[in-house]
Symmetry: C2
Subunit: 298 residues, 2 copies
């Protein structure tokens, strides 16, 4: 089976000048994951590798570069969903972890639980030997300047990756610093299985981005994957999920989603003006689209 | 429309001697919520009132009486789901809140977010004037003795309530101290919309109990409510949800669920030997069942 990989760097609106730095980051993320898939590696490793690259890049709102909350602290959420076992690992509100996606994977692999939040999640990182850093080390120059000058942050830029490996494993990963100026302790959709990410080898896998409170209320990723169960292809399932959100919550929602079905088809939707996306096409070429791709057209 | 109310005090196994104290607690919870529904009150008020009663009773693993985690600290999770707005409020890992269900309701009503975890959630309680208490004040005599004598806690006893009010609002609430000896920071299904609770006025509302890691992986409450969308009545939808869990995760799962559909039908399932349940029947009588009721038989 031909492996598949798609990544996103958030659905939102931003000036066109910002496209190139997001595009460069997505390409770096795709290359990291694709090298693993091309070598016959597992979708879990590919998704983790792609997300780690974006967590390290200051242009994305995840890991280093996370937005500050209303108290001037970075609080990060992440999830990795394993379609083979219908299992997941997730963390919320971590303040000292360099790679929340890797901590989420350790939750999945090395604990009897699925989800850790708050100081217990940071403590778990230390206990398991995951790399920890001071909270301030996660703040980008640009975000620090915004905070000190009381300017509003640029929003969005949650990151995610979805992979299908050569033996049919589907995995989704999502990582974020959350919404700008969120209240301390706020958890969004990103670490919630079914909302910010979902994976089921029998159907498909998806990662969401946008306003967490909207994604949570419709369990966006699970909703999209359910449409695959009803016989839709990946793009049609993504479209149907978008229609569901709009029907239930109104036309002014801000959500986006990437999806791979079990046959390797891609789907993507966003209700925002932009969604930074990159993928590897059928010819093995890396493609990018900052306006949100449609896979019945590309 | 005739109001409906059902409450649970956890699915698990316990000695029969314990039945009477659970039964008494469930009856007190039912009376608190039923008085509100009988007076024409809102399902949100009824669910909150019923859950608050159980949070205050030491025989239930929620609020006062919560099980200690592996570090000897109470960490509580709660959710209230509002079927009218398809919205919810939830908290995880709170350590100092007397009534987590009420804090969850304040999240729903009084914040721009849906979900708070960790110290930010305790801080929110103080900011909003919700009653806070020392962590140790939430520990029952029995649980303290278990901990100090290194005996294992009795498990389960998560609480929940589902109500349908006279104007058709469906609400679900769930509150818990989590699994015995959980690792610090662990979050289970109870505060997760779609897993520990779900409500949609167009279909139904449900509250789950049992092993959180299993409930989360199948989004148990959302799965049950989806079966109503496919035309099943409440008990058949609950049965179909149980069959889904067993098919996906195996026969040795430990989960339970209570459900009301939009027409007022009850459903309940558990895979455990017992589930403490109480409801008001069509004649207005309070009924209880400690072995888990079936509503195609009662």
């Amino acid at each position: 089976m031909q492996p598949k990989l798609i990544v996103h760097g958030g659905a939102w609106v931003w000036p066109d000048e910002r496209d190139s730095v997001l595009e460069a980051g997505l390409e770096a993320a795709i290359h990291a994951g694709w090298a693993i898939l091309q070598a016959g590696g597992h979708a879990l490793d590919a998704v983790e590798a792609s997300v780690r690259v974006m967590e390290d890049l200051p242009q994305f709102n995840a890991g280093t570069g996370s937005l500050l909350n209303a108290a001037g602290i970075v609080e990060m959420d992440a999830l990795i969903a394993d379609g083979a076992s219908l299992d997941f690992g997730a963390v919320a509100g971590v303040q000292r972890v360099r790679h929340p996606i890797s901590l989420a994977r350790r939750v999945l692999a090395d604990t009897p639980h699925c989800f850790f939040a708050g100081p217990g999640a940071d403590g778990l990182a230390m206990m398991l030997g995951e790399e920890t850093v001071p909270n301030l080390a996660l703040v980008s120059e640009a975000e620090l300047r915004n905070f000190r000058e009381r300017r509003s942050s640029e929003g969005g830029d949650t990151v995610g990756a979805v992979a299908l490996d050569a033996v049919g494993n589907l995995v989704a990963g999502t990582s974020t610093g959350g919404t700008p100026h969120k209240m301390p302790g706020r958890v969004g959709d990103s670490p919630i299985f079914g909302s910010g990410g979902y994976a089921d080898n029998a159907l498909g896998a998806a990662s969401a981005t946008g306003k967490g409170e909207e994604i949570l209320r419709v369990l966006l990723c699970r909703t999209a994957v359910e449409f695959i169960a009803r016989g839709l292809d990946a793009q049609a399932a993504a479209d149907a999920a978008r229609d569901t959100v709009v029907r239930r919550l109104g036309a002014d929602v801000n959500v986006g989603l990437i999806l791979i079905d079990r046959r390797g088809g891609f789907g993507a939707i966003q209700t925002t003006p932009k969604m930074a996306t990159a993928w590897v096409d059928a010819d093995g070429r890396v493609r990018t689209c900052m306006a949100g791709p449609r896979f019945d057209e590309v």
